[in-house]
């Protein structure tokens, strides 16, 4: 376990010493603050609209951080050849995969909770409401979803050599699931036969990232989701994360790494 944490520690150190990460991070924070600072709110509708926009920004930004950071981990180790002195030590490839996952997930989590913190400050100071429970739940669910995404990207990065292809493919898949994944079963019903079964199957076998989107609960201040639902969703995320990590390990385990 210490070995996994050691690998994760290096991921996090690299991230906070890189400039591109700061750029994205600061940009999101500033935009959130700026949106909140605009002073024409007494109109419910506009307030909601701005809140919605801020949350969308947080979603896109967190996804970008997660995907870009994760996609380059293993390829960068191979390209810079740092993987060799590492694997020459008593560490298994499974531990390396687990460490990379943990590092990316923790780093993304820190970024995410800071984003939500800003968001809470802004809306709190404007509207004088502090639904901390709703925020925590929304952030937690989003973080759980990001675990699935990070594990999936890690898997992709083992099969596609170039981080750029992993980035593009991951982004398309994630956006696709978020936008249409939840409607596939409905779409299926309106299709003619072979297509109907195919779409229904696709609906059943994809990880449903869109379930983790609690933005409407925050925007419309709908209160918290039952804890049981959150627990189930967390379990579901853990299972998918485990599956992707297992597949990633399986691909990495038998790779020839030649010096």
């Amino acid at each position: 376990m210490n070995k996994i944490f050691a690998v994760a520690g290096v991921v996090i150190k690299e991230l906070y010493r890189r400039k591109d990460f700061y750029v994205l991070f600061v940009l999101t924070a500033v935009l959130t603050l700026a949106a909140g600072a605009v002073n024409f709110f007494h109109d419910e509708k506009i307030i909601r609209y701005v809140k919605d926009l801020c949350l969308l920004l947080i979603w896109v930004s967190a996804l970008l951080v997660a995907i870009i950071t994760t996609a380059r981990q293993i390829p960068a180790e191979r390209e810079a050849r740092t993987i060799f002195p590492l694997l020459a030590k008593p560490v298994s490839r499974a531990q390396v995969i687990a460490g990379k996952f943990l590092g990316c997930w923790l780093a993304t989590g820190v970024a995410l909770f800071i984003f939500y913190f800003f968001f809470a400050i802004i809306t709190g100071s404007r509207e004088h409401i502090w639904p901390v429970g709703v925020y925590l739940e929304a952030a937690w669910m989003q973080w759980a979803m990001l675990a699935i995404v990070i594990a999936m990207v890690l898997l992709g990065s083992i099969y596609f050599a170039a981080p750029s292809s992993t980035n593009v493919i991951s982004f398309i898949v994630v956006a696709g699931i978020l936008l249409v994944g939840g409607h596939l079963n409905a779409i299926a019903l309106s299709q003619p036969e072979p297509m109907q079964t195919v779409l229904a199957w696709v609906y059943f076998v994809i990880p449903h990232l869109e379930w983790y989107d609690l933005r409407d609960f925050v925007v419309y201040d709908l209160g918290t989701v039952p804890a049981r639902a959150v627990a189930l969703a967390t379990l579901y995320a853990a299972v998918w994360t485990g599956i992707f990590l297992l597949l990633a390990w399986f691909g990495f385990r038998r790779k020839n790494l030649t010096t």
Binding site: N2, K3, F5, A6, G9, V10, K13, E14, R17, R18, A80, R81, T82, F84, P85, L86, L87, A88, K89, P90, V91, S92, Q95, R254, N256, L257, T258, T259
Partner: protein, 250 residues
């Protein structure tokens, strides 16, 4: 004496990505034994299979067939590498870490305690003369300094077996001298060093045992004296063994 590094009928085929091309056989049933306390030179012309052998020992490449072990543990188990140090031919380390952070990271992988780590890092930074730069990121280091970081990391766990892939080909004269001194010191401490090289003069000067590989096969193994017997020096017998024939007309 204890065998601490062993390969048995080791065969490695590099499968080609392009399925129309044949796979490349790099090792053809290599049998090798290195005993505790030896300074063992692993010799062979370019392409003989030296790096491939090391890649198997370090777990980078799985053997196609046959077996390899370190301290009696199959190399497919990471724990086989608990007591070894490895210096790659070319050294590249996480550039955003400082030398001290890098060493601390590797110490964690070896499971050293905090106190051991602190002590070891202080010793090693002194050994490779990097105390003054220890808190600067590696990306600002000169090439020679980066090589010395490499030497330090290979010794972080106080290894009983040091594996070096052509240690002198990538190093500047200072680094080279350092490596020689370290090899001599490890020898005095009764440790084992396994290194590949094709610089025979150097091998003759520091090794006690050698093995010669050629085209993926072991051609000869023994003490330097045994191998050179009947020839003017190690180089002459090496050339004979790998089948070199002069094309100059006398």
């Amino acid at each position: 004496m204890n065998v601490i590094l062993k390969t048995e009928k080791l065969r490695v085929e590099y499968r080609n990505r392009d399925f129309r091309q044949q796979s490349k056989v790099a090792l053809v049933g290599l049998d090798l034994e290195v005993h505790a306390g030896e300074i063992f030179g692993f010799l062979g012309p370019n392409g003989a299979g030296k790096t491939t052998t090391m890649n198997v020992l370090l777990g980078f490449v799985p053997p196609t067939s046959g077996a390899a072990s370190l301290f009696g543990i199959d190399v497919r188990q990471p724990i086989a590498r608990q007591r070894i140090g490895y210096l790659p031919e070319l050294t590249y380390y996480y550039k955003f870490l400082t030398a001290e952070e890098l060493l601390r990271f590797y110490a964690k992988i070896f499971g050293l305690t905090r106190a051991e780590t602190d002590k070891r890092i202080a010793q090693l930074l002194k050994l490779v003369e990097l105390e003054h730069a220890a808190k600067r990121p590696i990306k600002g280091y000169s090439k020679g300094m980066q090589q010395r970081v490499g030497i330090a990391q290979s010794l972080i766990n106080n290894p009983d077996l040091l594996i070096l892939d052509e240690p002198t080909s990538g190093l500047d004269p200072l680094g080279r001298m350092k490596v020689r001194e370290i090899i001599q010191r490890l020898k005095d401490e009764g440790k084992t060093v396994f290194f590949s090289s094709h610089e025979l003069g150097e091998v003759e000067a520091i090794c006690d045992h050698v093995a010669i590989v050629h085209e993926g096969q072991l051609k000869a193994t023994g003490t330097v004296a045994e191998i050179s017997a009947g020839h003017t020096n190690l180089e002459q017998s090496f050339l004979k063994i790998v089948g070199y024939q002069t094309t100059l007309v006398p």
